[in-house]
Structure formats: structure tokens, C-alpha cells
């Protein structure tokens, strides 16, 4: 079990997230949020981040990171043309379309 006192924070000056930080993360991940959502995520995420403090006590000085559990590098596929997916089947899921295109709102703003 992860048990960690809040007093034990070797290098994080202020772990509990500020509201400003939560607003920033929400904008990075492009999820719309009400004031209330932001407040409750601030509280919950801070509690979860507290649980991660334990990792800072572990010596990983000469340990290489694992991004992936199997040691496979540079997997290549032969460059062989295959049948693509059927355009109609793919576009049938699009919220908005025009001919064989996905239709979106203007990307460039004035």
C-alpha cells in the first residue's frame, strides 16, 4: 500500500495543484469544464498526485527507464501496397462530411 505523509516532499515545493494549473491542463487536453468540474478535479488530482510522492524516495540513480516491456526495436513492414479501407464505410462515421471529405469548422481564426 502506498502510504506517504504530506510532510515528506523532498523537492516539490507545492504539490497540491492550483486552480490555474488545472485550467491549463484542461486546455492542453481540450476538454471543456465548468467551474465546479475544475474545482473537483483540482481536489481529486491533488490527492492522487500525493500517492505518487513515494516514488521520490526510491533510488533510481543508475536505472534505465522501461518504456515498453519487450525489447523490440525498429520494427519495419515491407512496402507493399494493400487495399485501403472503403471510403464510404470510413466516412459513414463522420459527424459532418462533404463528398469524400470530413467537414470541419474553419481551422484558421481571424
Amino acid at each position: 500500500m502506498i502510504i506517504m505523509s504530506s510532510a515528506h516532499r523532498p523537492w516539490s515545493p507545492n504539490l497540491a495543484l492550483t486552480l490555474k494549473e488545472v485550467v491549463h491542463i484542461a486546455s492542453l487536453v481540450r476538454i471543456g469544464m465548468s467551474e465546479q468540474d475544475l474545482e473537483s478535479f483540482r481536489d481529486e488530482l491533488s490527492k492522487i498526485l500525493d500517492q505518487f510522492e513515494v516514488l521520490k524516495t526510491i533510488d533510481t540513480e543508475n536505472v534505465a527507464p522501461t518504456a515498453h516491456p519487450v525489447d523490440i526495436n525498429n520494427v519495419f513492414k515491407d512496402d507493399i501496397a494493400t487495399e485501403p479501407l472503403d471510403s464510404e464505410a470510413v466516412l459513414s462515421n463522420a459527424p459532418r462530411r462533404e463528398d469524400l471529405y470530413f467537414r470541419v469548422k474553419a481551422v484558421l481564426e481571424e
Partner: protein
């Protein structure tokens, strides 16, 4: 609660006058997949009959169990008719004509695949997952798609955007998660087997809660192509079945190299059912002490009896094994999995597919609204957490640190397996819990997976097998082995299963 002894092996049922196959037609749902396959091969029943029995069973219990997101009756009957033709030509295999359920994050061409999310409520995939294709080639019958925690994030199936699934052993309890639908469907006799996915315990924990067998294969053994991605370095597809032989057959049919998954292991697939008659005398098993910390007393009692049974069967048990980094695995997981999820779920932008937002003012507004309305709270929480852990200034402290501790966890398993054939642990530290008991506290929900998460972090295989009951609720035992040790895990699990018979009990839902 009275336990219902499965009827197919009892003498009186076998000799029933009206049924040459030994079991009244309307009780065929109590069979295992391999028993049903024997009846199909011997032409005692047809796949269409077997499929109709399962559709009737779904009709009878689904209002209580709610294990399905969608039921594909037409597809099932067409699959069954095709399977009957194959069997008639002598072209059937162990899964030909056997009705099953797929978790709703495994894509099925032309059949709605939702991940139990509003975001994908109407998504119809234009292609099949590799496992879907392999099961089609094996002649499988698709009954429908299994309910789950939204995008496989959760441990109780309470995070489904559509409805919760109930535990067939006690309807007031959760079935576990995130593969709660597949586990409950198999336990309730609604499907002869199911495929789930396991990122941190999502096959094994619901298997434990629902009293079925659940396997998380070695990372890379089963192709992830067409599995809606959550934590790409952790996700694996695996079987949920009524017994070990079925699990071995389903894994054999779905495993193997796939050029469409660049993490797929290029290696001949073992014949997993071959070792099932072997004994386990001389097998070296270890019980790592860290897995007993904070264990529910009743669960510990069941586990102890199960371990004693393995010892009686001739295995040696080492209680001195220690994996000190186990207690850090939960923190590593809740950094790594959300980090990967925040990247994987960035694709849901409401442009090419997904929730429609008619009232957006700009493209950015459309994305923010689609993601606000399309994702549930837990999914948002994990995307936020992952984005934070990966963000500038925090990457080294969170993601990189977790990736280094991940290495330590892998090394500890490697060391343990130098001396031991497998590790034996509880699957879940507690009994199935009640609805609402943990859903308000994310941290307490995350702890449900404390015994299963280290396995995903290391990429090694493990399975959960029914090991007993406490007050009518199933308890699972987890057996963990080194990479690609599935044949040995099946061998141990099968020996235990045959010596105890827990797999013969069926949930009392009607």
C-alpha cells in the same frame, strides 16, 4: 447462499431419457466450450440450436445481469448456420460454432463498438480487430459486445456510460472491471466464453469476482490491432472462460504474430492445451509476502487453503520470496497508464467519428464540447492526470521516474523466476464489493488492482482461477509466471482445478 452444482457431469442428468446428449436442451448454457464442441463434433446438437439456447438464456437473465452493450442476434444466427456447414464438412475446430461475447473495445467490422462511452455510442468500425478475424476464421459465433468501464478505465464496470453490470453470484455486488461484462456473461451462462482486455487487471479481477478463469497473456503474445488503445505498453487481450481447458483453446486461437501490431512477438504459438493432463509434482511455487499485505482475512483463508492444495499436489511452496517494489507498482501504473491514455485518447476530436456536437462555434469549441460531453468523469480524470505527468517541468519527476521504477519491478520478477516456476497470490485483496462502495473515492478504487498491476508493468503473463467462496461470493487465485510461460501456468491451474472442482459451480442467477 446455496451454490448450484453444475449439472452436466452428474449421472442423473446424463441419463435423462429425452436428451441423448445428456442435458436438457435448455440447460446447454451450463456447459463449457469444449464440452459443447464435443457435442457439435458428434452432431448431437447444432450450432444454431446451441446459439438459440444462449439467446434464450440472455433473454432470461440479461435484465438482471446486463453484461451486454449490444446483442447481435442476426449475426449470431448467421455465424451459427455457417459453422454448422463447416462442421458438416468435417472442417470444424475447437471453437467452431461456439457462441461468445467480445468486450466492446474490440472492433468488429459493421458491428457497433462503443467502449461503453457516449463518445463512441454510434461508432461502427470499418474493419475487424485481428482477434475478431482469427475467431471468425475459427468459426466463432458472435452473440454481442460486452459492457465495460468506459475506455477500460475502472475496476467495477460502474464507469460504463450506459449501465452497470451486476455480479451473477450476488446482484448487489459489482462484477469487477473493466471487463465486467465479459466476466459476468460467462459466469451467468450468457456466453460460452468471452474476450476481455487487461491493462492493470481488467481480465483477472473481474474473473476473480465472477468465479471464472481469466488470462492476461504475455505482452505481445496476442495482437492489439483493433483493440481500442488505452495504455499501449500495458494492454493485452485475453480469454474469460469457465475452465482452464477453454482458456487454453481460446488463447491458442487468438495468439500469434501479427504484422499489424509492431509489438507482436514473432514466434511459434505453443499448443496450450497439450500440458493439461500433466502433474505439478516438484513444481517450485512462491508466495511473495508483499501480496499478503492488507489482504481481507476471508480472502487470505481461501488463498491459504488453495496453496495447501497445491502443496498436496506435490508443488513446493516458498513463503520467503520478497518483491519489495510491489508497493510502488500502483504509483507507477497510475502515472504510466494515464500518460499513455492521454495520448491515445487525443484522437477523439469529434471530426472523423465520435460524438456529434451541433452547437459548436469553432473547431476548438467543437472539440472541447465533444470531449466534455463524450467522456465520463474517470476518463477525464485520467487524461488530465496523464497530460500533467507528461507536461513540461513534470515529465522527469513523474513519467521518467515511473519508467525507471518500472525497470526495478521487472528485475525483481526476473530474479524471483530464477528460482521459481511461478508465483501464487490473491487476484484481488477483497471480495466483490457493493455498488457505490468505492465509486466516490478514486484512490480506494485504484487499490482494487494492487495485486494485478505489477504483472502488466512487467509485461509477464498471469491468470486468475476460482479458488473458493466466502458467503457465496467467488474468490480467485492469481498465478504469475515469466514471459511466455503460459503452458506452465495452464498446467498448474488445470491441476488445481481438477483437484478442487470449483469450476463446476454455476452462479445462481435465473
Amino acid at each position: 447462499m446455496p451454490l448450484v452444482e453444475r449439472t452436466s457431469t452428474s449421472g442423473s442428468r446424463r441419463s435423462s431419457k429425452n436428451s441423448p446428449w445428456g442435458l436438457p436442451m435448455n440447460e446447454l448454457y451450463t456447459l463449457t466450450a469444449h464440452e459443447a464442441a464435443d457435442l457439435l463434433r458428434d452432431r448431437k446438437i447444432s450450432s444454431v440450436e446451441l446459439t438459440k439456447v444462449h439467446l434464450e438464456r440472455i433473454g432470461a437473465v440479461e435484465s438482471d445481469v446486463q453484461s451486454f452493450v449490444s446483442i447481435t442476434e442476426d449475426v449470431a444466427l448467421a455465424d451459427a448456420a455457417a459453422a454448422d456447414k463447416r462442421i458438416a464438412m468435417g472442417d470444424g475446430g475447437p471453437l467452431t460454432g461456439i457462441p461468445m461475447q467480445l468486450k466492446d473495445n474490440i472492433v468488429t467490422c459493421g458491428v457497433k463498438t462503443t467502449c461503453s462511452s457516449r463518445m463512441l455510442e454510434n461508432f461502427i468500425p470499418p474493419y475487424d480487430a485481428t482477434v475478431t478475424l482469427r475467431l471468425k476464421e475459427a468459426g466463432a459465433v458472435l452473440l454481442g459486445k460486452g459492457n465495460m468501464d468506459e475506455f477500460a478505465m475502472g475496476s467495477s464496470t460502474e464507469n460504463s456510460a450506459f449501465h452497470p453490470t451486476r455480479n451473477p453470484w450476488l446482484l448487489d455486488c459489482v462484477p469487477g472491471g473493466s471487463s465486467g461484462g465479459p466476466a459476468a456473461a460467462v459466469a451467468a451462462g450468457e456466453a460460452l466464453y468471452a474476450l476481455g482486455s487487461d491493462t492493470g487487471g481488467s481480465i483477472r479481477q473481474p474473473a476473480s469476482f465472477c468465479g471464472v478463469v481469466g488470462v492476461k497473456p504475455t505482452y505481445g503474445l496476442v495482437s492489439r490491432f483493433g483493440l481500442v488503445a488505452f495504455g499501449s505498453s500495458l494492454d493485452q487481450i485475453g480469454p474469460l472462460t469457465k475452465d482452464v481447458q477453454d482458456a487454453a483453446e481460446v488463447l491458442a486461437a487468438t495468439a500469434g504474430y501479427d504484422p499489424n501490431d509492431s509489438t507482436s512477438i514473432d514466434r511459434q504459438v505453443d499448443n496450450f492445451s497439450q500440458n493439461l493432463r500433466g502433474e505439478i509434482k516438484g513444481m517450485r511455487l512462491g508466495v511473495p509476502r508483499e501480496y499478503l499485505d492488507g489482504l481481507d482475512e476471508q480472502v487470505e483463508g481461501v488463498l491459504q487453503r488453495a496453496i495447501n492444495k497445491l502443496q498436496e499436489l506435490g508443488a513446493s511452496i516458498d513463503y520467503e520470496v520478497s518483491l519489495p517494489s510491489t508497493s510502488h507498482a500502483l504509483a507507477v501504473y497510475y502515472i504510466v497508464a494515464p500518460s499513455e491514455a492521454s495520448a491515445n485518447l487525443a484522437r477523439y476530436d469529434g471530426v472523423r467519428y465520435g460524438l456529434q456536437v451541433p452547437d459548436a462555434e469553432s473547431i476548438w469549441d467543437a472539440m472541447e464540447k465533444a470531449r466534455q460531453r463524450g467522456f465520463g468523469t474517470e476518463v477525464k480524470r485520467r487524461i488530465m492526470l496523464g497530460a500533467y505527468a507528461l507536461s513540461a517541468g513534470y515529465y522527469d519527476a513523474y513519467y521518467l521516474k515511473a519508467a525507471k521504477v518500472r525497470t526495478l519491478i521487472r528485475h525483481e520478477f526476473d530474479e524471483a523466476f530464477k528460482k521459481l516456476d511461478a508465483l501464487v497470490t490473491p487476484t484481488s485483496p477483497t471480495l466483490p464489493f457493493r455498488f457505490g462502495e468505492r465509486s466516490t473515492d478514486p484512490v480506494s478504487m485504484y487499490r482494487s488492482d494492487v495485486a494485478t498491476i505489477p504483472v502488466n508493468i512487467a509485461g509477464i503473463p498471469a491468470l486468475s482461477i476460482p479458488a473458493g467462496f466466502v458467503e457465496g461470493l467467488p474468490v480467485g487465485m492469481q498465478i504469475i509466471g515469466p514471459a511466455l510461460s503460459e503452458p506452465k501456468l495452464f498446467q498448474i491451474a488445470h491441476a488445481y482445478e481438477q483437484a478442487t472442482g470449483w469450476h463446476k459451480l454455476r452462479a445462481p442467477v435465473n
